[in-house]
Symmetry: D2
Subunit: 336 residues, 4 copies
């Protein structure tokens, strides 16, 4: 980390600042130039309180040379993280396809969708039991019963299950859920992240709608710092001025997050655009860009879906997409 | 609500759609034009499942005529909501000034700041006990001890206190906190909102960094639907491409939210820009625009602040701002 | 177009509004409901003055059913536009690769890069002669001399050339340029667009950094309305809050623009992220998503580039990318 | 400017980089630390080619200490710029009110509006003759005739006139226009800016919808570099995800631009929100924040306006706003 001191600062103030930084457990390399005095900070600067240094009256600017996350940082973990979940691998070298309805609605619905997904070659079943809806008057999910129906579908098909946990008091009920999803609106629910860091369970962390990639990785770091390093990143569209799509899929985050981190990255094209007829094109783009998989909303009857029907594809459309996904996977030398 | 049917849709499909909408408890006014068939939906459309209607194959578009919120809607509550908190009024006709440190650091710190605020004419004391920080390595607040120190400061000065609750398990400890703050990152933590709707305590709801005004009011609606109508809205900057300021203060939300809702609206200039030297100008702008008050970060020694020092003003600067605020309040015929 | 009238509007005002709309050459289908009165507007609503209708005191809302562009609209031109340029086709069924330096710097530079591009299978040579730079102190391009150097490179390699026109007085000098580029900052320079609509020359229209897809197509419409229908759309990244990349590549615009319009769409990954090491992944994503081609910045010595060196790839990297592009093209049943 | 060298870079490469920077006319202060080698660049770094330095393989990061603009920079021109236009002052100490219709429609219209503005105390008359419209089918303005009508209105009222120039070939016709406006869409039309830098006429430069404050000042710098230092900055709303307002008024730019630059800054509330009923609140906010004035759209019959009727206020509403503006001006010790 580089601290640039304002011109004409007095030496006493500089020494006071140096002492303050040293009490943070860091060493200083002090360089006095003609115009600028620069402090090069040596040591583990993830722990440095940049805001405090920046608040100092004599500081012109602070430049982070190193990213503020460690456990999620590829610099310190050059090898890709590959997570083993119920016999499936998630991460570099494998294409993971998580599919299922936005929300679990009935046993018939979820079992029938699960069977189609299984037949088409999907690897995980997703389904919402607790639904974060912007309106309190909208369907809020079946709750604990929804989880039970997912378990039935898993039993029927063998597909491991993924579902979103909205609040800590639900944690016990997720004990046998294979992957716990943290939704975009909870990406910076730090209390939740800390608790999920204490369990031994893969976490699918969705990027907040207006979160930078650095904040996204810092949220992964919250989980990993507590000991759980099974974090799967999921990009699901960010918020921009564009209104033709519900959100804007930030496809660049695939190469950028792969360079900055060793964690697997999954793309959710369904929530990114909110338009079912774009899912095929974006699924292909995701895999071509190097993503480790996709998460797709599939509904047996999108028109009757209680949630996100406009972006859900049918099992038939899913089947067709899977044929292409398999070709792409082969093309990119990945297994499914 | 207006539903536009795609040209050449067949009558049977239209009738099926009408039935689906009617099962939502709504009435239909059916109008068949040369090109367009239009369904005018009559009744309480807050409860209508727009997404489901939009998913229907024969639907071209859906146009909401009425906002999706009711309890927060000025249409149904023309009079301004004024909340009485420990003898202070918050809402139309009054300028409320909430001030204090980003985080409570020590008894000396918070009591000394509280005294200055009291002397300068501030109406509430704010202070963070639980701090949502983007880095898990940053100072996370003093927690329950922080609340105790706020209580001491309240006792010393008589200023009612405002503090942020981050998670439901902290709720009991907030029983005697005068206003519970919901942070921007929790604006769509719906489980939290629902529980806060069940208590009888004023809630200061901060707008999410990338939330539209409609979503903001829907989050207020989540609280109000459960019975708690003491909601104070707080705009604290939204996320844009601009980097000269930490966020972009959306000043237009003052007249727009005042038109759409009857709830009080407070501006937080400190978090909006992250720059202490802009606080005075933006405080004046907020009051001139018609806000019911401001929330300002004040620290006795911003350089040593454990959090948000760069945006904190000193008690002396606060005192100077308060002199102007009082003049503006008088000018706008408001009391303080 | 649907016009929703405010409840309780008086009949006289409604009739006055109807007359106003009819003078715009449109017919009205008048439907009086219990709560809402609705005017269905029939006819060519691209010409309707929506803003004027919306300004009317009794109008609650206006809902466009039809897009405001005609010539760029797939609805009226179901077949894909394929443009023939110096024997190369641009559009559905073909992958076009436009490559070259950000700015033309010298004969040696541009000829050597052009030869590499030709050998690797690129189809067009790009090079900036007039450079829009945010700083007046930055290199502004070689100007007319730059165009001459591009002509030499074209002669040496046979590659047709693409270059950006910044201002109308340069138009004569572009007479034999094969494709005229309109830069992102000029996407809404309407006077320029109108003049380019009067010539018979392919126009590569770059999307403005903060333009919606609808505005993008309206700018294409400006050119097409004047008679020139050889418009190639180019997405080059939009502006968001993300700072890890220079802009955010809006990959969703490929399927969406393909659905809304019949015009070819090209992706520029270099300007989208500003990071050379992301170009390969995003090029693959673009083609997988269905784009008709890519535009890539290639420099023989990126470190010494006078412009955009950080995002330029070397001829060797380009060669490697082209091998993959060819495989993808084959995979997607497209020719190059 | 600080250049951070990547760890383990070899000395030869560093020396080569130093030479490259020195050929840009800059001096280097070389500081070799334990981990980082840092180059402090001394001299006029506005001319430094940062992108080129950043492209260098051994460069980790570049940190600008000084802003990239000089003539617009308050650092080098501590005194506020005050521009004298036809006997009116624009800049610190004065509140300027520019008002008038979005577009000039007829002699009657513009003269009658001008008279009202004059009577209410407005200082300049605005009116569009050439209109940048997103649709080629929308009214494009009266053109040269519109300028003539403005001249008539000026003669009748004595109000100096402001109008937008869209393209260089119109320049002659603007010879006696008192202030030439550069629209938001032309903020980075660099050829236009350069030519406007060569004339002796005040330029009202509108901020681009997605331009940062730094880019805004760089566009002012384009004009000033050529010799014309009569630049008035105008904020008119930036593009965000919010849809309740047409754009988001960035009120923070008032204190921030005042700190960074000595140029006058005017706020346009009408285009910022597109909603006439917000104009009063935002005008007050603008003046309270320290703006040097406002630009407001006024139309004698907003419902019949050919352009931007929804955001135009009536002369009566303008009159009422002016009463408040005068009080605020007095309150802030400014003249009108
Ligand atoms: Mn969903
Ligand atoms: Mn804070
Ligand atoms: Mn370039
Ligand atoms: Mn206008």
């Amino acid at each position: 980390m580089i601290v640039v001191i304002k011109p004409n600062s007095n030496e006493e103030d500089i020494q006071r600042l140096i002492k303050m930084i040293e009490t943070q457990g860091l060493n200083i390399h002090y360089s006095k130039g003609v115009d600028h005095t620069i402090l090069g900070i040596v040591g583990d600067t993830t722990l440095a309180d940049v805001a405090k240094i920046r608040s100092n009256r004599i500081v012109e600017n602070v430049l982070r040379v190193q990213e503020p996350y460690k456990k999620a940082n590829r610099l310190f973990h050059p090898d890709d993280t590959v997570i083993d979940i119920a016999g499936r691998k998630v991460g570099e070298g494998t294409i993971t396809v998580i599919a299922g309805p936005c929300s679990v609605e009935s046993e018939d619905q979820v079992v029938s969708i699960a069977k189609s997904i299984k037949e088409s070659g999907g690897t995980f079943l997703r389904g919402g039991a607790f639904k974060p809806r912007s309106s309190p008057y909208a369907f809020q999910g079946l709750g604990y019963e929804g989880l039970d129906l997912l378990r039935i579908a898993r039993k029927e098909t063998g597909l491991p299950i993924v579902s979103e946990l909205m609040s800590l008091e639900q944690l016990d009920a997720f004990e046998d859920v294979d992957i716990i999803q943290v939704g975009a609106r909870n990406m910076q629910n730090f209390n939740l992240l800390k608790e999920l860091g204490k369990i031994d369970k893969p976490i699918l962390l969705k990027r907040g709608m207006s979160s930078t990639m650095q904040e996204f990785l810092m949220s992964a770091e919250y989980i990993m710092k507590e000991g759980n390093d099974k974090v799967i990143l999921c990009e699901r569209g960010i918020r921009t001025f564009e209104t033709a799509t519900r959100n804007t899929l930030d496809i660049s985050c695939v190469p950028v997050l792969k360079q900055k981190s060793h964690l697997p990255i999954i793309i959710d094209p369904s929530h990114a655009t909110g338009l079912s007829w774009t899912v095929e094109a974006l699924t292909k783009a995701a895999i071509a860009a190097g993503a480790d998989g996709v998460m797709i909303e599939v509904h047996n009857n999108p028109e009757e879906a209680l949630c996100d029907g406009e972006q859900s594809i049918t099992p038939e459309q899913f089947h067709k997409i899977m044929i292409t996904v398999k070709k792409y996977a082969e093309f990119e030398n990945k297994v499914m």
